[in-house]
Symmetry: C2
Subunit: 403 residues, 2 copies
């Protein structure tokens, strides 16, 4: 008889954002006149850039004619897109990554979870705490058991990130086999300097660990000496896989496009991970839509880059408004300079969820309780810069009044 | 130190269609003037229907304006699409499937492989032989070892399909925990009658097995008493998951859209599989693009259905031309009536690959060697009806001359 994968039973009941949605729905039902402002989920609000729309229209037109119709895409993605990525995201920043080391996909969420399939089931995994829940929830048989008191799985190696270490974890004493790092960080908005990241690369190479580097927010980096890619570090080609997304870069959350870089020099036990990921990608995935790949290509044109820069500028201005707003209101807050997330300390020893309820009730503002990202997130709260300008300003006014 | 997932090493070196592509490339280099006709891969050639293009254009327009822009899609897909599917694909055929049992995705290939994640790693799996390679290649730890002499994995339960049983397998003596069935079948083009399928449903319910039913080609069914969905059978709601695709139905191979049905009555050990798949889908997948879901919705409009019917008619006319053509040329052939695939016996005791080389050389026609789908496919060869009409006719002329 068929049986279920018992690992699902180890997962905490509900996905963080589903719980939030439920609470907000209940509040709305009880308070039908409340005008709720949502600064919780990391979804964008600006429409697609004109260059992207133009590329979509033109690609849709191609799909309407027999001569230019496109069926199945090449396994790893169209060359026109991979070459632009290799040039603008890597070569231009001094990174030695070739187009055929880039795997186009429908987003970083799928890739950063599915990547675990190419590794041994007994590999240990290190994650920052707090952390984007997907890394942990997709670990299947590798987590060990969940302890609901500590809110931790017993086989996962948690690397605490807090104000004391500037939200950049220490190198663990015993090296995890796989190490998830995400910078600029979701949820804390922290970044890592190039020197610090180099230490992680050296550590991974010394210990034969693989770094799974989530660089989904690199476009929000505004300061110097903050690496946009792990391949800016020496030796990363032998120890790191990098994930990128068009979601936050160009507002593709509803269009779906991302990519993963697996350098050909990354070899375990004589086997190149590039070949394994190519096999996994080719066997269980059928490529991102042609029209979406054309849309992705458009952000690398001169006009496209200008438009994207403007869009990012808009969100980062929101980030500034939030960071200054909550500081003015007397909060201690982090992030928001190189990332679209502001990570603030809850006041008066409130727990994350108490503060969530407080803000929902008093200010009708919705953010994300820090504890939802891991136990070290307790006492923190995340606000995102992806909202509309007027509502973001209004939210700050309300938060100040509620305080 | 990190290690690889050793199960990858058990897979035969190359994906079938990559080997074919390589052989064709080499032939082309040696014979630069040959005009090769490809009736091998199951990719469509007709452009998207006018209704689909119209829906795409309108959805792209929505994405260009702040008021109508769409970010992340709902986890399970937009209600506008799921409700159309529930109505036209299920209710209209007397199947009791509700919209919230339908999970929209980017295609059946991903779903029919990823579905294995919700089952125990020790579950045995039965597959038809010959079979669509993806089911087997994605089994990860469940296959046992590969024997290159028998071309079989030792833990997979193979269910032979050949001319003797009309390409419909017998019920195995010992029931597999999971059973992949695909009707209309890829690669043989065979169908199963409703009475026969009912036997499988009863068998699965008696043995607590789960049927993974791939109905990607249901739209090609032209005869009566051939089930379009497994849910036409009594009791399927407690034992079957069904996969569908817009790829072959509406030419979406390059647009990517499909869906999976997990009835809420399908329960193992007290756990509803619906909840497990929802958790898997929500954790590791981020939804099909809004514009593509709108495109999918368009095929259910009155005009859309008319256009799709015409497109399918075109391909099925090709199928008829091929079936009659190869029979005229003296071949024994199957399929092609309720499926876009024609499955023919190789002549003169040629192996599948010998016949592949023979046709490539003498007729410059490319099909797929039957043995590529499994050992029972040896001595067979697959032709597809997705080509252009003129080329399909020309291919038949050449095959007759080569014979």
């Amino acid at each position: 008889m068929a049986t279920i994968n018992k690992n699902f039973e180890k997962l905490p009941g509900s996905y963080l954002f589903s719980t939030i949605a439920k609470k907000v729905r209940e509040f709305e039902e009880a308070n039908p006149n409340a005008e709720i402002i949502r600064l919780g989920i990391g979804d964008v609000t600006k429409p697609l850039a004109p260059s992207v729309i133009k590329a979509l229209n033109s690609a849709v037109d191609e799909m309407s004619k027999e001569e230019t119709f496109k069926g199945y895409a090449p396994d790893l993605g169209y060359a026109f897109l991979r070459e632009k990525i290799a040039m603008y995201d890597y070569k231009d920043r001094g990174c030695n990554i070739s187009a055929d080391e880039i795997f186009v996909s429908d987003g970083a969420k799928c890739d950063c979870s599915n990547i675990q399939e190419i590794f041994g089931i007994d590999n240990t995994i290190g994650v920052c705490d707090p952390v984007y829940p997907v890394y942990v929830d997709s670990m299947a048989g590798r987590t060990g058991l969940y302890n609901s008191d500590t809110m931790r799985f017993d086989k996962v190696i948690y690397m605490p990130c807090n104000a004391e270490n500037n939200f950049v974890p220490e190198l663990p004493g015993k090296a995890p086999d796989l190490i998830y790092l995400c910078f600029p960080n979701n949820p804390t908005g922290a970044v890592i300097s190039k020197d610090e990241l180099q230490k992680w690369v050296d550590y991974a190479n010394e210990n034969n660990s693989v770094i799974l580097y989530d660089a989904a927010y690199e476009v929000y980096i505004s300061e110097e000496n903050v690496p946009h890619s792990i391949y800016e570090c020496d030796g990363a080609r032998t120890c790191a896989i990098e994930f990128r997304s068009f979601s936050k870069t160009a507002g593709f959350t509803g269009l779906r496009l991302g990519f993963t870089v697996v350098p050909k020099d990354l070899v375990l036990d004589g086997v190149a991970l590039h070949g394994l990921w190519a096999r996994r990608h080719g066997t269980k995935y059928n490529g991102a839509p042609y029209i979406v790949q054309r849309a992705g290509e458009a952000i690398y044109s001169e006009q496209g880059r200008r438009e994207i820069k403007e869009q990012i500028g808009y969100y980062m201005n929101n980030a500034k408004i939030i960071l200054e707003g909550v500081k003015d209101a007397g909060f201690t807050a982090y992030g928001g300079v190189n990332a679209p997330y502001i990570w603030l300390r809850t006041p008066d020893n409130m727990t994350s969820w108490e503060f969530f309820d407080f803000l929902l009730d008093k200010a009708n503002v919705v953010g994300t309780p820090g504890v939802g990202f891991g136990p070290e997130g307790e006492g923190y709260y995340r606000l995102t810069a992806f909202g509309n300008r007027e509502k973001t300003i209004e939210a700050m006014t309300r938060i100040k009044e509620a305080r």
